[in-house]
């Protein structure tokens, strides 16, 4: 059964800290891995990582895909209170009966 695991499930840091969020997956037909930031109802897309694009960076956020280890990390440097959110990892698994597999999310709280 396809699955996505994220760790930690919850994290509390102070402004200025650097955090690393982990995502590992087991899917039979991997196409891409996506990171989202969810503050309210609609997650905001952050990055998509594929075999041809295994490292992405945008401002203080960066992400790497390790296809050998079947995992990805999301780094946030110099955290701000506005980074407080649930960070979701999802894998696009192009199997019959399965499209996206979402992880449970990491709840990040950044304290002032």
């Amino acid at each position: 059964e396809d699955k996505v695991v994220q760790s930690p499930l919850s994290l509390v840091v102070h402004e200025g800290d650097t955090v690393t969020l982990n995502c590992s997956y087991e899917v039979t037909n991997f196409r891409s891995l996506l990171w989202y930031k969810q503050e309210k109802k609609a997650p905001t897309f952050l990055f998509m990582l594929t075999s041809s694009g295994i490292e992405k960076k945008s401002g203080r956020l960066s992400s790497i895909l390790d296809k050998k280890e079947l995992s990805s990390i999301l780094n946030i440097t110099a955290t701000q209170t506005g980074d407080s959110a649930i960070y979701l990892c999802a894998v696009d698994a192009y199997n019959y009966g399965q499209n996206f597999v979402f992880g449970p999310g990491t709840r990040l709280s950044v304290l002032p």
Partner: protein, 115 residues
Amino acid sequence: SAVISQKPSRDICQRGTSLTIQCQVDSQVTMMFWYRQQPGQSLTLIATANQGSEATYESGFVIDKFPISRPNLTFSTLTVSNMSPEDSSIYLCSVEGTGSDYGYTFGSGTRLTVV
């Protein structure tokens, strides 16, 4: 956390027809959310479905195009009506956890292609 069964997982439909997507949750939930995922883009919230009341639609989405049913606390349907190729997308439902189960759980999605 809740488990969602979403059907169908994919379909290829003719333009002008309608498709109804179902989401069944293994526990009672107050709100269910319907999203659209287009390649490389954010999940776009279509509407929030509360049991016993009409769904609340986000800007750009209307009930005539995306009618939603929410007959009980464990089930909801989204219909994509009078489809055009622009409706080709992945549609997902999700529910919000409660208490210690704080996160959102998503269905596996319906991959719709309109030809």
